[in-house]
């Protein structure tokens, strides 16, 4: 019947329409530079987890949160890929005298915030003081360096009650305290959660952004160095599943992405540029070293047993392949305090582990509550470690959090005696502040400390670089022996980019890509 035939025709037309709809994608997918770049000067970048906060005072230091904040907040000091420090908003900076207790920065003149107000010493001091008071996860790094005062219009002095050798890093683009917030922003901290108030190359377009999903930045017309503004518009899109990240950048939905070791090979064979360097350690942090909630953890033999129980080589090979190496340590190879020899400290030896457990009075093992963030393979490594622990009778239950804010909150409320971590790319001093000093933070929530360790670290902080290296190694060796954590793998930070995007660099000495150099010539 004719009506039947015309229905068939309609159906055919509909199918053709769908195919036609799909076809332009072949073109876009085939083109190398992705959908949003090119003539329009736009950049789309995928970040792999929700940022903890847009507010530098509350941010988590990770590639995602940093990418977001570096776009809008100009740093005082710029850390180069080789690990050296150079000028940014501060044209001159350095320690005053010896002992690492006083620091001074001289600011560039004539710089304005995005809102047009001048950037001067008073504003910088106000910003740093706010970031200290906000109490974000990084605040422990300052140690006693909390006295920040403006001197004249362009000089800022920092005075410390205890030695701190890492202040240049803390005032760089890779730490909250280097990212300068305008007085208006500091005056209304609530506004910093959904708007930016910096002097960086871009400002957030809040109306186009959806918190937790995507963030749109537009060029800052008041930026002091217009040459460094490479795009008229930068979009950061959050995709947490690493496979989805790869699929998205591969299909041309983005130009750059924070990658993952699990997909790096696939990215390479898809024609993407993979920029990677060993940068952070993943493992399980045994928070409750005093055994407040989990009695067994107070015994060093138990903690060592947990270390012996884990086959780091197998975990690393299975989860990270060529983009990881087994490690027992917290510090990464580019820094003092690292020693290849220390990686032999806890060989895979389940028999030894059982022996130690039995000696500590737990021949049948025990059970343990764990917590892990899903970002940066932390939860996966935690599960893998837990799998090995199960073989020596230590049974675990894991609570996973997708949002970093939930992870931080869960850990800080001391609900869990142990939990996964991803940590690294930092000098011994900062590592020690996070792990061994009683300053509350997600890596030492039970505020444990050890007098021997504290003593060694205090010496190291005030020492010259040469002395400090030896002292640092001594401290890390001691801590490793205590078994306060169970590291598994040293993992590469990886970024994917379409060819044609330049300025993405990751090295062992600077593990975060500097957003200000990303460009498309």
């Amino acid at each position: 019947m004719s009506s039947h035939r015309s229905r068939t025709r309609l159906l055919t037309a509909a199918i053709l329409a769908v195919v036609a709809l799909a076809l332009p994608a072949c073109g876009a997918g085939g083109a190398t530079t992705g959908a949003s770049t090119g003539q329009t000067g736009q950049l789309t970048m995928i970040i792999s987890a929700q940022p903890a906060s847009l507010d530098p005072g509350l941010m988590n230091v990770d590639p995602n949160n940093l990418a977001l904040d570096q776009l809008a907040y100009e740093p005082l000091i710029r850390k180069a890929p080789d690990g050296t420090f150079g000028p940014a908003l501060a044209t001159r900076f350095g320690y005053v005298g010896t002992g690492n207790t006083a620091f001074s920065m001289t600011l560039r003149s004539g710089v304005r915030f995005a809102d047009g107000t001048p950037l001067d010493a008073a504003a910088v001091a106000k910003s740093i003081n706010y970031e200290i008071k906000a109490g974000g996860p990084a605040v422990g790094w300052l140690g006693g360096c909390t006295k920040v005062t403006p001197v004249g219009a362009l000089r800022v002095d920092v005075a410390c009650s205890a030695p701190n050798p890492v202040l240049p890093l803390l005032f760089s683009q890779n730490a909250p305290f280097g990212l300068v917030i305008s007085p208006a922003g500091v005056g209304t901290p609530e506004s910093l959660k959904n708007a930016t108030a910096g002097a960086g190359p871009y400002t957030l377009d809040a109306t186009e952004s959806v918190t937790g999903d995507h963030y749109v930045f537009v060029a800052n017309k008041n930026y002091w160095n217009p040459k460094a503004v490479h795009f008229s518009r930068v979009t950061l899109k959050v995709i947490t599943n690493p496979d989805s990240v790869l699929n998205a950048i591969r299909s041309g939905q983005a130009d750059v992405a924070v990658g993952d070791p699990s997909t790096a090979d696939a990215a390479k064979s898809a024609g993407l540029r993979v920029v990677a360097a060993p940068s952070y350690t993943v493992g399980v942090d045994l928070f409750d070293r005093a055994g407040v909630d989990a009695k067994p953890l107070s015994d060093a033999r138990v903690r060592q047993a947990l270390n012996y129980a884990v086959d780091r080589t197998a975990i690393t090979k299975a989860l990270f392949g060529a983009y990881g190496s087994p490690t027992t340590q917290l510090v990464t190879p580019a820094y003092d305090g690292y020693s290849a020899a220390l990686n032999r400290q806890y060989p895979y030896d389940p028999a030894r582990a059982r022996q130690l457990l039995a000696a500590a009075g737990y021949p049948n093992g025990f059970s343990l509550q764990l917590e892990a963030w899903e970002g940066f393979n932390v939860a996966k490594v935690t599960q893998a470690i837990a799998g090995y622990w199960a073989k020596i009778g230590v049974h675990t239950q894991l609570t996973q959090d997708a949002a970093p804010a939930a992870w931080v909150n869960n850990v800080l409320t001391k609900k869990f005696p142990a939990g996964g971590f991803g940590y690294g790319g930092l000098p011994v001093y900062m590592t020690a502040q996070n792990w061994f000093q009683p300053t509350a933070g997600p890596f030492n929530p039970f505020l444990s400390q050890n007098p021997t360790l504290t003593g060694l670290l205090r010496q190291a902080a005030a020492a010259t670089p040469q002395q400090s290296a030896a002292l640092g190694l001594q401290a890390m060796t001691f801590a490793l022996d205590q078994g306060w954590w169970v590291s598994a793998s040293l993992v590469d930070a990886a970024y994917y980019a379409h060819p044609g995007i330049t300025g993405i660099s990751v090295t062992a000495r600077n593990i975060y890509a500097d957003m200000s150099t990303v460009a498309q010539p």
Binding site: M1, H4, A314, K380, K391, Q397, L398, T399, Q400
Partner: protein
């Protein structure tokens, strides 16, 4: 239950569910590996002999994870199902059995609960305790229970009205006892059906929540959790996506199949007559016999489910002629008309016969479709249901006009109004704007006539066009029919059991009995000297209804005493071999029953009777 298992699909579903349940119960015995045992050296190595369903990213055996994961998954479904059944049955029974105020209030509450999107409550519950596997499924059971409650309520309302409950009450059983003994038994079947369907939904919800990370805490396995794990390695090991997805899909499917099987077993299959003509290949036009007849039907036989309904019906209608098809209900009058038009209900089939219109063979359905409406119009018995209730009179008429006459919208409107005027509707504009449910029966039949005339046909098939109308309106419609014949030269095939109408309207008549033509001829001759005892009986009955002194009979005014033919028309499939009227015939002889009787021509009449011609009529 046994009937269910006889359906292969439902049986397969039940087997799968049994398998999954057994696997869940004996999970730790069946699983080849510990579900949480990691062997990172084989992670993502795909299916193989050691790991038939592959290995997950942490080196855990996928088969073992699915087997052990079925526990938490099925437990979640089980919890939801128990709550669904308990709450649903309880609420349904209370509402249905107590009735009255309780019923009204409870029904409102159930409707309200049903309107709440379940996902809201699930997320709300989960936001308080994200890894709780129990409470969300419990909540889901409660939120869905109204679906079951409605079904149970309907069933128990029905039981309540039945006698044995009253009897039980008279014996002094308490309400609770009655519910337990009688009502509950009746709601078991619908409960199982609804429960099976709900279980499938609950499984999707449970696995969906686990997929979102609201399942059991890792490393404990669950089906939804396996999908989530697989989603993270789509690029490295796409295989892993399939075992978990298929297990979920198969289990939901199994619930669905079992549910469908149960419902079909208890309700019987959906089956109704449909009037759409069968599809057919395009027909080639057969060369025409030049005849003077407008319509010729030859040897028309229609089969139904139990055998023929009409057999070897042949007749002709000349232009402008009116032919009556007369007989009692069940003789095959309407079937003859519908078969002639090629619009037999589903299940009936024309097996032999040719239909010729204007000398062209249009037996092929496609050719027949082309003459419907344009050469032949059709009016049916029930005007109130003969029109589409969702369109105005005008819209329906104009559509038919446009379709048949290929005219523009404005012309069609014009013609539609003319048609309404032609069927003697006083205010065509007002009637055209009305919907069928706003018309009286007489008005509706006029509209039906207009619709039948929309294609300007030469022949009108009118199937008892006045039967459903009251007496005054009947006369009006018949008068209208008369006028239309006179004004348009319309031929009519009139189906009726009313001899008065035949006398008024028709030149010739065909008397049908049990699917056969028993007598045919000019109406005047039939009235004067009917040959067949059946015709005689019909006429006598008709005349006794009318004023005994008035001849020809006037349209049925009830007046006893009533002369009737004893007995009833034998149903299709139970026709006697010989004369089909033999069982009711006052003049029956043994020869009548011996063999089929041919139609014998005798003067102007032809009758299917072997008796001598001059039989007296039974009345008069």
């Amino acid at each position: 239950m046994r009937t269910v298992l006889r359906r292969p699909l439902a049986a397969a579903g039940a087997c799968w569910l049994l398998l999954v349940t057994v696997a869940a119960v004996f999970a730790t015995l069946i699983a080849p590996y510990g579900s949480e045992d990691t062997d990172l050296s084989v992670a993502l190595t795909g299916p193989g002999r050691a790991h038939p369903l592959g290995v997950d990213p942490l080196g855990r055996d996928e088969l073992s994870r699915l087997v052990v994961g079925s526990r938490v998954t099925l437990a979640g479904v089980g919890i939801a199902l128990v709550v669904f059944v308990v709450v649903g049955v309880a609420a349904g029974l209370v509402a249905g059995y107590l009735g009255g105020r309780t019923d009204r209030v409870l029904t409102r509450v159930l409707d309200l609960v049903l309107a709440i999107p379940a996902v809201l409550v699930l997320l709300a519950v989960l936001s308080l305790a994200p890894n709780d596997g129990l409470v969300p499924m419990l909540a889901f059971g409660v939120l869905s229970a109204p679906v079951l409650a409605r079904v149970v309520r309907a069933a128990s309302l029905q039981v309540r009205e039945e006698l044995y409950i009253a009897a039980a009450r008279a014996f002094g059983l308490s309400d609770v006892q009655i519910v337990l003994r009688h009502v509950l038994r009746r709601v078991v079947n619908p409960t199982i059906v609804q429960g099976a369907i709900f279980a499938g939904t609950a499984l999707i919800v449970q696995t969906g929540l686990a997929f979102l990370g609201f399942g059991p805490r890792p490393p404990a396995p669950s089906w939804g959790g396996s999908v989530q794990d697989a989603s993270e390695v789509i690029n490295r090991d796409p295989w892993l996506l399939y075992p978990c997805g298929l297990v979920i899909a198969l289990t939901v499917l199994a619930f669905g199949l079992v549910g469908d099987g149960l419902r079909d077993a208890s309700a019987g299959r959906w089956a109704t007559e449909r009037y759409l003509p069968p599809r057919s290949r395009r027909a080639t036009v057969v060369a025409a016999d030049a005849t003077d007849f407008l319509l010729s039907v030859r040897d028309l036989t229609v089969d139904g489910p139990v055998g023929p309904l009409i057999q070897d019906i042949s007749f002709d209608i000349a232009p402008g002629e009116a032919l009556a098809l007369v007989g009692e209900s069940g003789c095959g009058k309407s079937i003859t008309a519908l078969a002639t038009l090629g619009v037999l209900p589903a299940g009936l089939r024309r097996v032999t016969g040719t239909i010729t219109v204007d000398g062209k063979d249009v037996t092929d359905p496609a050719l027949l479709a082309a003459v419907r409406g344009r050469r032949i119009g059709y009016v049916c018995q029930e005007p109130m249901t003969a029109l589409d209730p969702t369109f105005t009179v005008h819209a329906q008429l104009a559509e038919a006009v446009r379709h048949h006459r290929r005219v523009g919208r404005a012309d069609a409107d014009q013609i539609a109004h003319t048609l309404l005027a032609q069927v003697r509707i006083r205010d065509p504009l007002a009637v055209a704007a009305r919907y069928p449910h706003q018309l009286s029966g007489g008005l509706a039949q006029r509209v039906c006539l207009a619709l039948a005339l929309a294609g300007d046909p030469a022949l009108l098939v009118a199937d008892e066009p006045t039967t459903a109308l009251d007496v005054r309106v009947q006369a009006e419609i018949l008068a209208l029919l008369h006028t239309l014949r006179r004004d348009r030269g319309l031929a009519v095939l009139l189906i009726t059991h009313d001899w008065g109408v035949v006398a008024d309207q028709c030149e010739r008549a065909i008397v049908l009995y049990a699917g056969q033509i028993v007598e045919t001829g000019p109406v005047d001759d039939l009235f004067q000297a009917p040959r067949h005892p059946y015709t005689q009986g019909l006429l006598a009955a008709s005349r006794s209804l009318a004023d005994p002194d008035a001849a020809p009979a006037r349209i049925g005014v009830a007046a006893p005493p009533l002369v009737t033919i004893p007995g009833v028309v034998p149903p299709a499939g139970q026709w006697p071999t010989g004369c089909r009227f033999s069982d009711r015939c006052p003049h029956v002889t043994p020869e009548c029953r011996a063999e089929p009787i041919e139609l014998r021509h005798d003067g102007p009449l032809a009758a299917r009777c072997i008796l001598p011609a001059a039989q007296p009529t039974t009345a008069r």
